[in-house]
Symmetry: C2
Subunit: 412 residues, 2 copies
């Protein structure tokens, strides 16, 4: 039997009634001839409640106990989903992470999946079970302790199962109906994409299109797992949602697939740093060690052996970055005359695998922004993405103008 | 190091604040030099919430899924208790049933404990861990599924751990401060007992003194586990509560230790059954198979080869008992002219290990009731207990009179 993985997020299993609706979708795929592996999150609100308990009990908590506590919400949903399917006369049972076993590293709270031996579940499929309901987000460490994969880890669980069981597809049911050319709240011209390449999705995900956890997309790309994102609140439609797949499956690739925007980016400038070999390492090494997610980096031209170094990082990490850099200055590792943090910026990016073979995308982007009178503060490019920092007040305008310029209203 | 088992019920861990108070008690015992095994229930209300989910989802639920779901509440408390102890600088970790592993039968929802290998926990004690916090009520079946021990199963978990680790004592923290000579709501002369023998406690527990699950007392008696029942809401006192122990530990045993009463008992009479060999088996065999808890049985004298058979059973099983007996009559297995159910009765019992060596207890009991004008409907005796059924309206009066007659206000 072909295997299908279906993942239901917290809002899709928030009540017993929603669990029943999700179970009906599972039943339809069983009727279509699939052996189904269902990955469930905790009922929405449950994990936050448990995290609240932990934080109130022990601000500097033992991550092993944190994992044992917060993983319990998924166990409840898994059992309830199995019971609901049984009520529909579909042979189903629940599996907790340690029962599979889903083996992970010992990095509690952010464990990585090492192995999912398929034997136990396949044995049950062979016996006639049609649905394995697996508690998402959790696994077991080499020491036999419960681990969790970090926020959004259920998406990663789903993709890893799809890879381990060579599933035909991994359907991620969530509260949005797919991936859009841009945030529909910014322009109503935003179009749902029928297909998007893994690489594009990675850029979009990391740029603030919060449909899927970046890590799950990386994993899907590595193991060529076809991912579909779709809403659990819409009527059943076999072609619903957005398929995230290998480039080869997208016959007519677009030059630009989407425009992403993020308000949560700040611009930091170190004024007058020495322009010498090793200076970048001296600055960005300590920042990386402190867990600062540095994104764009720009170095100005040098004058009198000194230069300005600009980079962007998440707004909520600015204070920490400032401390790391002033500590490095005090320690004599780096020198600068001033550190300017500008939190009043936004990052706007155009993304598309077609860019690789098509020139002129950057020029068109810059001209479009210029025509709107929007000043570009920092530029960074990758093979399939061009990002700029602009004043935050221009973010929506920039997105709308770029969406028009690349004719994304005709996409999908 | 000597081992102490401490069990905290749902009301004792109902909030984070109460968990902290319980943890302080644990800390005190660690300071007293014990390695402590703490058994925790779910925060009160949690298990009922989960049971509600199951019943709403699937009235004829799969007991394996039921167990996987309802056991999750204990996991949360175990983790929170471990974190709370760590905050107090006491080395502690949580253990779920499967991690110990607490091995049980496959009788989901009412599993029996088969084995608790002490190696894993002892290894951690040897490494310097001071407290093992174990999720109560749960275990693992030979098939690797999660099992639960049935309601009140955390008491049984605690006693089983005390036996497996040869603990000096098993302290059961609950919302009452000990075992009383009778229900203090019936007479304010009721006295807390300092010590009570296992056998007495068994009779008291099965007679409606709902302090401990009968099963946990049976287990304690079999393995000679000294049990202490005490309140988690009182100030610390090393001699608090009631110790349930072997008879030998009770130097001056009383003739009567307590008077128990139960409203939930009904009297059933089968009129004119054949007085022949095998008739009792023909009546009580089917009742036992149907799970009816028959307690007292009285057979009247025979007349013309016929007799009346009277027995008592819990009030909520009367309907079922009637059906079982009328089915047996229809099948021709037994014959009777009438079946009379009297649900307007109460059972009153005096219990005491001293009865074994002291005669006249029954006579004193009957005279006391007679002096109060209370008619006795059924009598049953065991080695350490005399029970009577009386009209329900006389229950309180009977208890008060017997409490006075046996001078239990001087007990403790």
């Amino acid at each position: 039997m072909p295997v299908l993985v279906m993942k239901f997020g917290g809002t899709s299993v928030a009540t017993l009634d929603r669990i029943r609706r999700a179970a009906k979708r599972v039943g339809r795929e069983v009727a279509n001839g699939y052996d189904v592996i269902v990955i469930v999150s905790a009922m929405s609100g449950e994990t936050n409640k448990l995290v609240g308990f932990v934080n109130e009990t022990s601000p500097m908590y033992d991550a092993r106990e944190y994992d044992a506590i917060v993983s319990s919400g998924e166990n409840v949903t898994a059992g309830l989903m199995a019971l609901t399917l049984q009520e529909m006369d579909i042979p189903a049972r629940s599996w907790q992470g340690w029962q599979v076993p889903l083996k992970t590293t010992s990095a509690h709270g952010a464990a990585r999946i090492k192995e999912i031996p398929p034997e136990n579940i396949n044995f049950k499929f062979a016996e006639g079970m049609k649905v394995a309901v697996v508690a998402g987000f959790q696994g077991i460490s080499p020491e036999g302790r419960i681990t969790t994969l970090g926020r959004g880890g259920s998406d990663t669980t789903a993709v890893a199962f799809a890879a381990a069981f060579d599933a035909e597809r991994c359907d991620i049911y969530t509260d949005v109906d797919g991936v859009y050319t841009t945030d529909p709240r910014i322009t109503d011209k935003a179009q749902k994409l029928e297909k998007v390449a893994f690489e594009e999705m990675l850029e979009l995900a990391s740029l603030g299109a919060k449909v899927l956890q970046t890590r799950s997309v990386e994993l899907a790309m590595r193991y060529k797992v076809r991912l579909r994102v779709l809403s659990s609140f819409e009527e059943y439609d076999p072609n619903a949602g957005t398929l995230i797949c290998a480039e080869e499956e997208i016959v007519e690739s677009r030059v630009v697939s989407g425009v992403a925007a993020s308000r949560e980016e700040a611009k930091m400038t170190l004024v007058s740093v020495a322009d010498r070999p090793g200076i970048a390492a001296a600055i960005f090494g300590p920042l990386a060690e402190a867990g600062i997610n540095v994104d764009m980096i720009v170095q100005n031209i040098s004058e009198d052996g000194e230069t300005d170094m600009t980079f962007s990082c998440p707004t909520d990490q600015v204070k920490r970055a400032e401390k790391v850099l002033s500590d490095a200055k005090s320690a004599g590792d780096i020198a600068y005359t001033d550190l300017i943090a500008d939190t009043d910026v936004a990052k706007v990016s155009v993304v598309g695998i077609g860019m690789r073979s098509q020139s002129g995308v950057a020029a068109k982007m810059f001209k479009t922004l210029s025509d709107e009178g929007i000043n570009i503060k920092v530029i960074a490019t990758s093979e399939i993405k061009i990002s700029v920092l602009v004043d935050r007040k221009y973010m929506e305008l920039a997105v709308q103008a770029l969406h028009d310029a690349f004719e994304l209203e005709k996409a999908a």
